[in-house]
Structure formats: structure tokens, C-alpha cells
């Protein structure tokens, strides 16, 4: 009964989404306030019904209701409760439900935080989001119902993919979807502005915090995915250029371009049509990612569930959303003026160049991701496009973008002088070149790629310092450096922090790629192996029983110069419901390096294959991403946006204070 109620809740949500997608848009067109006012309650209602459906599916998982096909496919009575709950989004149908729950959450956020916006704008934004929601609810109801019954119910479920039985499963998909789906808000704002014909600074400023918050989530989601792959897959890699990774990397690249383009539109009034185009394509790429992952056109570690009929439906949805948005864009774009004038050397031109490079990088990743599919579909043969291709084409496009990151924040708007820039940046250039040439000697072998990566990373940090110093020197308020520093806007600090985050990430990638080492050995109890100055002693292997698996767990003592460092316990797990054994790596994370040990096959009664890896600075990759997200958070919480919110609250207090029961207690 409960699953049927869940399905009914989805039908109601679908009906409300249609109402939300039609009435407010029509109301805004006709200037009818009653129709426009439907938007907010419809969004709330939709959220409630999707949340009910989601809750019922979670209940089916928690109570092991294997008469629900989706539960039977993705759960098992022996599966611990926390994984049964995270298992709700462990397959196709549930991840779609999570997608819609998060879309509804974003709609609620828009409905709540938009009270100082004109009613017709709110109506249009929520209307567009309602249409998107209706498309996805239809997709779920017609092709991917999570509540389909399986009768007679099997005595036990097929269990969740062991790779997904991990804390990363609770974090990575929701965070990633918050980012993916969050770009629907920027998209809806762009479409609303196109419909109303008001592509003005107010639109750009309203979109900015939403876009930044979505970008923060997508940054964290991608970083979590990379980190999870690193420790769970047991190959020691942190990025595989897997088509599924690319699916969420492409919207990230375009979203990054979008937040920069929005900054220009907000501050200078320029790049309006470019910003709109980016807002549309960022969301289109989010949908493309959903299509690639959910349709099953890819065969990769992530595509767990697939069914060809679903692919056609999402493809049609993708074509409809993108096609109609671009048609609207083409129709309205003639109205958009060019905006402010700028010279070839100016902050605008550099941001434009960065935008173009990010777009080219996105196109390149898309080409590599879709090419094998297209070739196969056309019957022209099968090729693989793997990491060697992406490394070869992606780095040359991104390197100039990283260089420009150093110059852009220092250049003036409209017109900058090249000699002046050269003078202000000569120290940064000298420092980065010197460090890039000399530092590799202290780390190990000199290697041109390491030097190149170091030069770019140090360049970004050094120019950020110059930029900060300039801002402090020219600040009008405050006597001491500290008060001047505190006086500069959070948005500025956020920008610098995010840029330094990119530098840290580049540093991590450069150093781990240049200096990682590994050894493959056969070990018996008492054997040692040395790597990068660490000694690993293989103590023994014992059998350990988990809730739904048995594991062979090795005990490895790690010492350095005779001093104890840590004890690691790599495992080889055999899950009851799966044939293939799973490798559970043991990692000792550190600020300057990780030790990464995996247990291979058993050779005889006492001997095992063991692989030990030394990964210098690998954690800086995720640390950099975290800094980027923090920078985004600082920027999104800038007082330019909060001032409006506070003003609104004050009006509300004033209204409340006029009431008869008003007290001074507030």
C-alpha cells in the first residue's frame, strides 16, 4: 500500500508541476496577479509530494520491502541500515527521485528568498523551473517508476553494488545533484529575463549568488567523487576521464565561465548575450550529463542501471529544453545591446578570453566523450578515447587560462596599460619562474612538466598576493593594514581564495603526477618493503567477518628511520551476493604525502601480493577544491547580497511592530 501511495504522490507532484509551469507564465504574460501568485504555493506543494514519495521509498528500503522491484534490485537484508538509506539513490529510479527532490528544494529556496523581486520575475522563474520539473516527473512516471512491484516478492534482495557501500555514497550524489540541478535556477533566471526582455544589471545581480551556490556544490560534488574514487576503487587514481566524470566536469567548466561572465554583466553591463548563452548551455550540459549517465549509452563504472527506451525520452527532453531556449535566445538576442566599451588589454578582454578558453575546454571534453558513441552509432568502428587523449588536448587549452587568472584580477576595467601591468607583475613572474626552476631539485628529479605546473601554480598565488596588496594599498578606509584588509569586500577575498584554491589543486596534480612511486611485491609474514623512505612490515593476514561480507585483512606496520608511523589494514573483501572480490585500500593520509596500500591475490598458504604506493601532495588536489568552494561561499555571502535581505527583514519587523500585540522583546 505504501509504495502505491508514493506513486500517487508523484502523480500529484506532476500535476502541480504542470500547473506551476503554465499558470504563472501565462499570468506574467497577461499581467494577471492571481495567476502569477500560483507559483509559490505550487512549488511548496510539489516539494511536499516529492518528499512524501521519497520518504515512502526510503521506508521501503528500511523495511526490506522486496515486493518493490527497485528495492529488490538494490538492497539486501544483510545490508546495514545506513547503506539501505543511501541505497535509495543507488540505482537509476532512485537517483532520478533524488534529482527531483533537489530540484524541488531549489524551487522552495527561490520561492522563499525572492520576496524583494518583482512578482512577474518570480512567476517566470518558478514557471520555467516548473516546466523542467514536469519533464522529469513525466520521465519518472512513464519510464522509471521506482515503485513498480515485483510479485511474488523474492525472499531477499540482490544487494547494493559493493562499491557504493561507503560513506561517499551518502555524500557524493546529493552534493553533485545540488550543483547540477542548482544551475536550473540560473537557467530559469536567464529564460525569465529573455521572455521579459529585461536583460539588465538587476537580472545579473540576482542570478549571481544562485549561480555561485550551485557552482560551490558542483565543485564539492566533483571533488568528493574524485576522492571517493581514489580511496574506494583501490587503483590510487584520482581522475580517470571517465565519461561519467566528464558529464559533471563539463557543466562545472561552463558554470565557472558563467560566474565570471555574470560578474562582467553585473559590474559593467557587458557580455549580456554571452551570459545568457552560458546560463542556457550550463544547464543544457547538466541535462546532457543526466542523459549520458541515466540513459545507459555509456558503459562505465558509474552507469549501473540502463534501459534504451529511457535514453530516447531524456534525449527528447534535452532537445526540447535546449532547442526552445536557443530559439528564444535567437529571437530576443537582437534586443540586447553590446554594453560597455573595452580595449584589447582590459579586465573585460581577459575575462572574455578566459570564458572562451573554458568554453573550448568544455567542447574538447565533449568531443572526446561523445566521439566514440557517435562513431559507433554511425557504424564507423569502435575506438576508445582515454586519459592519454584528454591529457594531450586539455592541458594546452587550460594552461593559458591559468596564466590569465593571474593577470585578470590586476588589470583595470575598460582599458589597462601593458607596460603598467608588466611593472606590477614582474616580481610575481620572477618568483614563479625561480621557484619553478629550482624547487624540483629539492623534491627529486627535475622534470619539465613539473616545472611547468609549478610555474603556473606559483604564478597564481604570487599574482593573488600582488592583487591583495594593491587593494590594501589603495583602500580609502582604515589606518592599519589589518583594518584595510577587513574593509575590502568578501567577494574580493572569495575570488582570491578560489584562485589560490585552483593553484593548490594544480600543485597537487603536478607533484603527485611527477613524483608518485609504487612497488609490487610478494610478502610473507615478517617481510618488509621499502618505498620513499618508509618501511612497510607485513605482520599477518586474518579473516574478518563484516555484516554482508568476509574479508582477509592484512596488518602492515609502517616505520620511518625506525620510528613507528602507523599501522595499516588493507582488505580483500568477498561480498556474499557478488562474485568478484573487492579491494579495500588502506591509506595513511598526510599533509605532504599519502601512503596507499592494497592487498592483491593470495599466492599460497602464507604469501600475498601487496602493492604499496607513495602519493606526494595528493590531498592538495581536494584541499584546493575545498578552498575554491570556500572562496565561492565568501563571494556568495558578500554584503552586496545580504544588504537586500536585511532590508527586507527590517521591513517585515516594521510591519510586525505595527500590529497590536507587538512587544519590544524581539
Amino acid at each position: 500500500m505504501i509504495p502505491e501511495l508514493g506513486q500517487f504522490a508523484l502523480v500529484l507532484a506532476f500535476t502541480l508541476a504542470l500547473v506551476q509551469g503554465i499558470l504563472p507564465l501565462a499570468g506574467a504574460a497577461r499581467g494577471d496577479p492571481a495567476w502569477m501568485s500560483v507559483a509559490r504555493p505550487a512549488a511548496f506543494g510539489q516539494f511536499v509530494f516529492i518528499a512524501i514519495a521519497f520518504g515512502f521509498l526510503t521506508y521501503a528500503f528500511a523495511t526490506n520491502d522486496f515486493s518493490v522491484q527497485y528495492v529488490a534490485n538494490n538492497s539486501n537484508t544483510a545490508l546495514p541500515l545506513q547503506y539501505r538509506i543511501a541505497g535509495v539513490w543507488g540505482g537509476h529510479e532512485g537517483s532520478l527521485l533524488l534529482w527531483m527532490l533537489i530540484l524541488a528544494l531549489w524551487m522552495i529556496a527561490v520561492a522563499v528568498f525572492s520576496r524583494s523581486l518583482p512578482e512577474d520575475m518570480v512567476a517566470r522563474v518558478l514557471g520555467v523551473m516548473g516546466l523542467v520539473a514536469a519533464g522529469f516527473l513525466a520521465f519518472t512516471l512513464f519510464t522509471s517508476n521506482p515503485f513498480d512491484r515485483l510479485l511474488p516478492a523474492p525472499p531477499d534482495g540482490r544487494d547494493l553494488n559493493p562499491l557504493l557501500q561507503d560513506a561517499g555514497m551518502a555524500l557524493h550524489p546529493p552534493t553533485l545533484y545540488m550543483g547540477y540541478v542548482g544551475f536550473s535556477v540560473a537557467f530559469a533566471f536567464a529564460i525569465a529575463a529573455l521572455i521579459s526582455g529585461r536583460l539588465d544589471a538587476a537580472w545579473a545581480r540576482w542570478s549571481r549568488p544562485w549561480t555561485t551556490v550551485a557552482w560551490i556544490f558542483l565543485t564539492l560534488g566533483n571533488a568528493l567523487g574524485s576522492w571517493w574514487a581514489y580511496y574506494e576503487l583501490g587503483w590510487g587514481g584520482w581522475w580517470f576521464w571517465d565519461p561519467v566524470e566528464n558529464s559533471s566536469f563539463m557543466p562545472w567548466l561552463l558554470g565557472t565561465a558563467l560566474i565570471h561572465s555574470l560578474a562582467v554583466t553585473d559590474k559593467r553591463g557587458s557580455f549580456r548575450s554571452w551570459t545568457v548563452l552560458l546560463a542556457i548551455s550550463t544547464f543544457a550540459f547538466s541535462l546532457l550529463g543526466t542523459f549520458l549517465v541515466r540513459s545507459g549509452v555509456l558503459t562505465s563504472v558509474h552507469a549501473f542501471a540502463s534501459d534504451p527506451t529511457r535514453g530516447i525520452f531524456i534525449l527528447a527532453l534535452l532537445a526540447l529544453v535546449t532547442g526552445s531556449s536557443l530559439a528564444l535566445f535567437g529571437w530576443r538576442t537582437s534586443r540586447i545591446g553590446a554594453g560597455g566599451r573595452f580595449e584589447i588589454v582590459s579586465r573585460e578582454s581577459m575575462l572574455l578570453a578566459n570564458n572562451v578558453l573554458l568554453a573550448v575546454a568544455t567542447g574538447t571534453v565533449m568531443l572526446g566523450t561523445l566521439y566514440p558513441l557517435a562513431l559507433d552509432a554511425l557504424g564507423l568502428g569502435k575506438v576508445s578515447v582515454g586519459p592519454p587523449y584528454f591529457d594531450a588536448v586539455f592541458v594546452p587549452v587550460m594552461a593559458p587560462a591559468l596564466f590569465l587568472m593571474g593577470v585578470g584580477p590586476i588589470a583595470r576595467w575598460k582599458k589597462a596599460s601593458l607596460p603598467d601591468l608588466a611593472v606590477r607583475l614582474r616580481w610575481a613572474l620572477g618568483v614563479s619562474l625561480a621557484i619553478a626552476l629550482l624547487l624540483p631539485f629539492t623534491l627529486g628529479e627535475w622534470n619539465p612538466m613539473v616545472s611547468f605546473g609549478l610555474a603556473l601554480a606559483v604564478w597564481i598565488v604570487a599574482t593573488s598576493a600582488v592583487s591583495l596588496w594593491d587593494r590594501v594599498k589603495h583602500a580609502t578606509t582604515g589606518a592599519s593594514v589589518w583594518t584595510r584588509l577587513a574593509g575590502t569586500s568578501r567577494a574580493f577575498h572569495g575570488m582570491l581564495l578560489a584562485h589560490v584554491g585552483v593553484a593548490i589543486l594544480v600543485l597537487g596534480i603536478t607533484l603527485v603526477t611527477g613524483y608518485e612511486s609504487e612497488k609490487d611485491v610478494r610478502m610473507e609474514p615478517g617481510d618488509t618493503v621499502e618505498l620513499a623512505g618508509y618501511t612497510f612490515l607485513f605482520r599477518n593476514v586474518s579473516e574478518v567477518a563484516g555484516p554482508n561480507y568476509v574479508a582477509s585483512r592484512a596488518t602492515m606496520e609502517v616505520t620511518r628511520n625506525g620510528a613507528r608511523v602507523t599501522t595499516l589494514y588493507p582488505e580483500k573483501r568477498r561480498y556474499r551476493m557478488r562474485e568478484k572480490p573487492m579491494t579495500e585500500a588502506a591509506i595513511d593520509p598526510g599533509f605532504t604525502s599519502d601512503l596507499y596500500v592494497t592487498l592483491g591475490d593470495q599466492l599460497n598458504a602464507t604469501a600475498w601480493l601487496v602493492r604499496v604506493r607513495h602519493k606526494p601532495f595528493v590531498d592538495w588536489i581536494w584541499g584546493g577544491a575545498l578552498l575554491m568552494a570556500l572562496g565561492g561561499f565568501l563571494a556568495a555571502s558578500d554584503r552586496r547580497y545580504r544588504v537586500a535581505a536585511r532590508a527586507r527583514r527590517e521591513t517585515e519587523y516594521a510591519v510586525a511592530a505595527r500590529g497590536p500585540q507587538a512587544t519590544a522583546a524581539g
Partner: protein, 159 residues
């Protein structure tokens, strides 16, 4: 007893209790130098049975089998090129993680360059448009609307 025999027995005793003392583990491969070459090559080849893994990374039986075959062939003195040719004849281009440059992959390899050129055109087109445009500041109406909506500090922001 002769001193030599005592020394021999002491050594023997040490050797017997050696299990408790640490000894350096043997490399997993019989020939580590060869193994490095095999694995470097295997990292460039796709495991055909798996989902987006290289032959070097995969635990799949087919990958294991292919690694063994590569090892055997290289032990017989075959070069990397010979091994790749053998695998290409057997499995086609699909086995290469770095796609070959040939008519059907022309667009794949030239595409990024093409995109870059398009990017340059877009950049200079937009720049020319800006240079041709008269100085248009943010209109007063825009400022007023932004200001009234947000009560923000658009005028105070430097730059």
C-alpha cells in the same frame, strides 16, 4: 669443534629463526625491469571486458590473461610496437586508450584545434564589436532598478 663449524652452525641458527627477523620482500615479478615495461604499456591499453579501465589497472581475468601474454611476448624479445600490433590485429582500435590518427578520427584530433580557432574568432569578433561601440555606460534606468531592488552599493564598489 672447529671455529669454522661453530660459525656455520650459528649462521644456520640465525637462518632458521630468520622468520622473526625482517627480510626484504621479493618483487612480485620475476623480472622487475621487464614488468615495468609491461605495465607501462598495459596502462595505455583498454581492458576490453571492463568499464573504462586500463589493462594495467584491471583485476578482470581477461586483463590478467593479456598481461601474461604481453609478458611472454616481451620476454621473447618482442618490442612494444610488436605487442601493440598483435593486440590491434586481435581487438582493433578499441584496445588503444589513445585513439590512432586516421580518417575516422580526424575530427577527434583536429576538433580541439578547430574549437580553439572558433574561440579566437569569437574573441576578436566580440572585441571588435566593443571597440566599435560608443561608450555606453550602465544606463541610469538600470542603475535605478538595480539599486531599488537590492538597495545595494553599486556606486561604491571600486572597479
Amino acid at each position: 669443534m672447529k671455529p669454522g663449524l661453530i660459525a656455520f652452525m650459528l649462521l644456520l641458527a640465525l637462518g632458521l629463526t630468520g622468520g622473526a627477523l625482517a627480510k626484504e620482500a621479493a618483487p612480485a615479478a620475476d623480472d622487475p625491469a621487464l614488468e615495468r615495461r609491461v605495465m607501462a604499456l598495459a596502462a595505455k591499453l583498454r581492458c576490453l571486458q571492463c568499464q573504462n579501465q586500463s589493462i594495467a589497472e584491471s583485476d578482470a581475468p581477461l586483463a590478467d590473461d593479456l598481461r601474461n601474454q604481453m609478458r611472454e611476448q616481451m620476454k621473447q624479445g618482442k618490442s612494444e610496437r610488436d605487442v601493440i600490433d598483435f593486440l590491434l590485429a586481435r581487438y582493433g582500435d578499441f584496445v588503444l586508450l589513445r585513439p590512432p590518427f586516421k580518417p575516422t578520427t580526424l575530427l577527434l584530433w583536429l576538433g580541439p584545434l578547430l574549437l580553439f580557432v572558433v574561440g579566437l574568432i569569437v574573441f576578436f569578433h566580440r572585441l571588435a564589436r566593443s571597440l566599435a561601440a560608443a561608450e555606453v555606460e550602465l544606463s541610469e534606468a538600470d542603475r535605478a532598478r538595480a539599486g531599488s531592488l537590492l538597495e545595494s552599493e553599486i556606486g561604491k564598489e571600486p572597479g
